[in-house]
Amino acid sequence: MQHGVPVGRAAGPYFGLLCLDLEPEAKPADIGGVLGELQALGRRLSEGRFWSFVEVDPEGLAVLFGYGAALLSAAGVGVPAGLAAAAFRAPDGGSVLHGAALRWAPQAGANPADCAVAVQLTAASEAAVTRAAVEFDRLLRETGVLGVAAWYPGYRRPDRRSWLGFHDGVANPDPTERLDLLEVTRGAGPGWLAGGTYLGFLRIRVRLDQWDGIDPAKQEQLVGRHLASGAAMEVDPDRPGEYQPAALPVAGDVFARGNEAARDPLPVATGEPSGIGRSHVQRSRRMLTGRIVRQGYEYLEAAPTPPVLRTGLNFVSFQSAPERLTRVLTGPGWLGSAAFGGQDGSLGDLLEVDAAGLYAVPPLREGSCPLPWAT
């Protein structure tokens, strides 16, 4: 696995996704050389070697390369079947995938994340991420062939809550112990991708103007977690049709040591009368084994016109097959019938997608051919 896939080590809290497009005059024969230079630069930056005479603390910088359908087609490799079938629709204000309730932002006119190469940068500081991004841009201005099409920065909040105010990333499986959730097996895809993974990315604007007016108790029902403790909501056995926060074994919130078992809530039926079966927590993980490894990085950006402050989430997921992600986004009991949570069709304006991409992330080894499909 490439560094940057969260196996064995946690990704740094600061994030950036650099989307690279092929230049119109790029020739297939030139692709390998540029990918090699990018990979070499990524290794140098991860070691803190910026130029021949400058060494810095890399602050845990991890550089990950994902290859989109555009690059694989241009290189004559062939797009893995799963990747082709899961391609996001072009922005038109409608669903991002057929059957998904999640919609494109009305103003999204293009999708820069549908790119040839995605470079994920994670590190311990914003400076470590951004200086690496600038170095990639410097390199590409020299080499050509690929150019920067978009930059999507973000970070994890230290309080481990999202803009909605609730605990986030609580029930993520540990990929060190569940490697199969994200690793492409030898027979499941092309040989060059074996031992690699798929990266999914969505830049989702979170419209707090649609959220803040909702009663907190209703918010808890929509999310499926207790606002204060983060405990998952469960059906109350003494009062059928009602729900309650699950008891946490130890004091503190759901992230406190000793509360591990309470992080993975039990499934609740979609049609359960309390409505908790349609909460976000339940809709996003309908199957205990159909999981993805999700990373979330918040962002705050300024718009030129009011409302000036725009909040959002960089949704990043790793999975062994693209179908895992598309099932979450399109399954009718999942997020296919509600973009976030609640009754079918509810909260349709809470989330808007500005960009989305899906990339193959092959294992890359130092000294090997920069084109993994050529070895």
Binding site: G82, H98, L179, E183, G187, V235, L266, A269, M287, G290
Partner: protein, 451 residues
């Protein structure tokens, strides 16, 4: 399983469940009844129970891991010609690979074109119980399921019992005849596939041995202990063990290294890890657990119907749920036009996530849109009072659990792609035969779900 209105059948079914459970405890768990502290045979015995749906994708994971989605589809949809001679008795093409408690058959029209897909999650043991004690009820039930009319003449005793006249025969004789003709054997070794057409041309109920009642009960029992991570001093910590550890250091099999080694193989399915995880989490909280109903089911709420495009007005006629098990849960789904309609399966389009359409050609595309599973009834926390047990596996994860499967699946796929009959495919899979396994026996020897 539906209510039949027959007290005899209900009693017989209950007896079957009790016998299977007793046999599992006696042999597979070597009289260790630890799991029975949590697993209750009857859901009605659990007070204040809440329902916990445990669903998984019915797409066979072993196939997708080893062959990719296209290869898995080809193999699952493969229907070898009935010119297979002796091999017809042991192999039925792609259905042998429907190993996630959900099987299907593609019904052909008179011209040999795919007409409908019949999908079932019904347990063979229930039908076997019916066959043993109520031949007339069996005939009516089969006719109702397959043709919508209990008096349909296309289902007769010869279809169900072969040469045996079931009415004067004893229960054991009836059971043996029905197994030979319709149900097939319980185990892979020796494997006896159904010899009659009823459960080959149709999917009347599940007939692949790995989808049995014994397998379902076994996996429930296997996960029903308070499995904890070991603390530094080797004692049980206050944290539940990771899911893979249940298959790497399960106390039931510590004294059987060979069986323990083969447990990891279960991690390579959709169904087993899902059930194990749910039971583990419930047992960790000291809850009582029961399957309610004791059956595999399909969830209509989770069927991605909007991924299918039908001719105008046809959707309501061509999507037929039946055999209800609970609200929103069924054991049978049939998709496709009726015999009185000129269309075929290909008149239905399947839309991928990007919206691209392609014709529906078999059952695999439908598996991708479905969820199958079981529903557990779980009692309140703290009811049981068991203490945590430390697991200390030598390794902490299971890497590519299906990596050894390709050697047997790849030749089978080649045979399917070549459109070969079962006899040719049997030759192609000589390696599997040499290893002492038949086709479904592409699974190594070991405990249940692998037998």
């Amino acid at each position: 399983m539906p209510e039949t209105g027959s007290q005899t059948v209900a009693e017989s079914w209950r007896t079957v469940q009790e016998n299977v459970l007793a046999e599992l405890l006696q042999h597979d768990f070597r009289r260790d009844e630890s799991g029975l502290r949590f697993i209750r045979p009857h859901a009605a015995d659990i007070a204040k129970a809440v329902r916990v749906p445990v669903f998984w994708s019915p797409v066979p994971r072993r196939l997708t891991d080893c062959l990719g989605p296209d290869g898995a589809r080809t193999l699952c949809d493969w229907t070898p010609r009935e010119t297979a001679g002796e091999h017809f008795g042991t192999m039925r093409g792609g259905r042998e690979y429907h190993t996630e408690y959900c099987e299907y058959a593609v019904v052909l029209d008179a011209a040999g074109r795919p007409k409908r897909v019949e999908i079932t999650t019904e347990l063979r043991e229930w039908w076997l119980a019916l066959a043993r004690c109520a031949p007339d009820l069996l005939r009516r039930e089969a006719a109702q399921v397959l043709y919508g009319d209990p008096e349909d003449g296309r289902v007769g005793y010869p279809d169900l019992y072969g040469d045996l006249d079931p009415l004067p025969a004893g229960q054991a004789e009836r059971g043996a005849a029905f197994q030979r003709q319709v149900a097939g054997s319980e185990l892979n070794r020796p494997r006896q596939a159904p010899q009659g057409r009823l459960n080959r041309d149709h999917a009347l109920f599940m007939a692949v041995p790995i989808n049995g009642l014994d397998d379902l009960l076994w996996i429930l029992l296997l996960g029903a202990r308070r499995f904890a991570r070991a603390a530094a001093d080797g004692s049980a910590s206050d944290r539940p063990a990771p899911l893979p550890w249940l298959l790497l250091d399960n106390p039931y099999y510590r004294a059987q290294p060979e069986a323990m080694a083969s447990l990891a193989h279960l991690y390579g399915t959709q169904a087993d890890p899902a059930v194990l995880r749910a039971v583990q989490l419930l047992a960790w909280e000291n809850r009582q657990i029961s399957a309610d109903p004791l059956a595999a089911v399909l969830s209509s709420d989770d069927f991605a119907l909007d991924r299918l495009a039908f001719p105008a007005g046809a959707a309501q006629r061509w999507v037929r749920w039946s055999r209800p098990a609970a609200p929103g849960l069924y054991q049978r789904l049939v998709i496709g036009p009726g015999d009185d309609e000129p269309e075929t399966l290909a008149d239905i389009q399947v839309l991928d996530a990007g919206g691209a359409a392609s014709p529906l050609t078999g059952g695999f595309q439908l598996l991708e849109l479905l969820a199958t599973g079981i529903v557990l009834a779980a009692g309140p926390r703290g009811t049981v009072g068991a203490v945590p047990e430390a697991l200390r596996p030598v390794r902490t994860s299971i890497h590519d659990p299906n990596r050894n499967e390709a050697a047997e699946l790849v030749p089978a796929l080649a045979a399917a792609r070549a459109g070969l009959g079962a006899a040719m495919a049997g030759a192609a899979m000589a390696g599997a035969a040499m290893a002492g396994a038949d086709v479904a026996g592409a699974v190594p020897a070991g405990p249940r779900r692998m037998s």
